[in-house]
Each structure stands twice: as structure tokens, then as C-alpha cells.
Symmetry: C2
Subunit: 148 residues, 2 copies
């Protein structure tokens, strides 16, 4: 399924083109990456956040399976390739500036999107309003579930 | 409400501290920023995505009102200060690596979180599966609403 070369998306164009147009002109940062928000298509819960390069984005669009670029491993990363918790795209959107992606997904396998074994990476609350700074203490979310 | 100086959050600690601990040790990138995902606390819809510096994060925690750092204006940015569409924090979470924030909010005013006047910045769909590359065409989402 891998493309033979990294695809080029549309050029960025004017502000009006980017905000109101229908040409997909994603903005990749200086490292060639675009941030991707992943939420559960059923519950709306945020599951994880990662980055795609142009190849990962193209593979995601072509296959409907979420691919990222792993910054730590400097490698293409098919999420769930090892754990079985593959992310199936239910819907993908981009924002006004076309510099962020939002993916609503259905998680395969046992539904654990976080590498800690939890359903979601967002298992801890930051108390608000509260005291900010070194004294800020997190709280485990009631829906955190267990790590594996 | 502004703190007299930029607060220091907890030091990052070990991987176990960061992932399993309850000390809030947010990771700011080389530019001093941490990404923040904003979703509607009611609908779960992604509304916008922006960055906070330590001061914006501290103000958000202390006031319960979302503040960002505007990269384009290089200034602290109280979202909605001009439009009236202030974002009230219903819940804030951080992720396993403590390098992303997720804020569930209630939007004041006429509920338009996007500078285009729409409820959400994510008003366009990327068709998946589809052909990736310069030919990719977006589609206006059925729930996009009107720009102002």
C-alpha cells in the first residue's frame, strides 16, 4: 500500500484559499510534520495526539488506517501494528488554517489507544481552577481504566 | 489576575514519574510551547487547537478561562477577549507524556470558537479513503455552519 514516492499536496495559496477553499493544502512545519488529534468516533473522548509527515498522511488517506511519524524512532508508524489496536478512520477533518488534523476513529483489538495500556492517553486531570506552578497536582480521571 | 512572574512547573523527572505520577510536569517545546486540544464539553466536537506557554497555562489554571500564546502575534492571547467567545474550562487533562493538553470547554457569547465565525475550526472533511496528494479535495462538513 505504500506510495512509490511521498506525495505533494496542494500549494498553500492565499489565506482565503486556505480558509475557504476546498483544495487540501496541509501545512507541514519545519520538520515536515502536521499535528493530528485523535478522538473516539463514538464517545468523543480524546484518545491520543501525534504527528504525521506527508507519507503518513497519504497512507492514512489511502488506506483509512491511521499512520503517524514517530519522532522518537524517526520512522513511519502504523499505530497498533504491534498491539493490534489499529485506528480506523471514521472521519477526518482539517482546521481553518489547514495546519492541524482531527481524526475520529474506531479502535481495533481491545480498544487501548495508549501505550500504557489505557483506552486513552488522557487519563489524568489537571484541577481547574487551581494553583498553577510546581505545586500543581494531577488527579487520576474516574474513567482512566487500568494500565497493563 | 496575571501572575507576577512566569511560574515554573515541576521538573520532568523519570519516564515513570511522567507517565504514572501525579506531579504536573508539562513539557514545553524548544519555543516554550505546549499544544492544547479544545473540545466542546457538551458535544465532544473538536473546536480548535492552539499553543500555550507557561504563563498562558498558569492563567488558564488559575482563572478557569482559556489563555493561549499567539505565535503570529507573539503575545499572550485570552481567547474571546474581543469576540466575547471566551472559553470556560469544564475539564483539563494531560496525556501520558505530559506534552499535550486536552481542554473540554463551554463557549461564551454566540458560541463561535473559530475566527471565521463558525462554531468550530474543523468545518471541512478530508475524504477517507481517497486519493492522497495534490488532487485531494475537501468537502464542507454538514455541520459546518456559516462563516460571519
Amino acid at each position: 500500500m505504500a506510495p512509490t514516492k511521498t506525495p505533494a499536496f496542494a500549494p498553500r495559496g492565499s489565506k482565503a484559499d486556505i480558509e475557504a477553499g476546498l483544495a487540501f493544502a496541509p501545512k507541514f512545519d519545519a520538520d515536515g510534520l502536521i499535528p493530528a488529534i485523535v478522538t473516539d468516533a463514538g464517545s468523543g473522548e480524546a484518545l491520543m495526539f501525534a504527528f504525521m509527515n506527508a507519507e503518513a498522511l497519504a497512507l492514512t488517506i489511502e488506506t483509512g488506517i491511521v499512520h503517524f511519524w514517530s519522532r522518537s524512532r524517526a520512522a513511519l508508524w502504523k499505530k497498533g501494528a504491534e498491539s493490534g489496536n489499529v485506528l480506523n478512520v471514521v472521519e477526518m477533518r482539517t482546521d481553518c488554517d489547514q495546519d492541524v488534523l482531527w481524526l475520529r476513529v474506531a479502535v481495533d483489538g481491545d480498544g487501548r489507544a495508549c501505550h500504557t495500556g489505557r483506552r486513552s492517553c488522557f487519563y489524568r486531570l489537571v484541577p481547574v481552577p487551581g494553583d498553577a506552578g510546581a505545586a500543581t497536582r494531577l488527579a487520576l480521571a474516574p474513567d482512566a481504566g487500568d494500565a497493563t
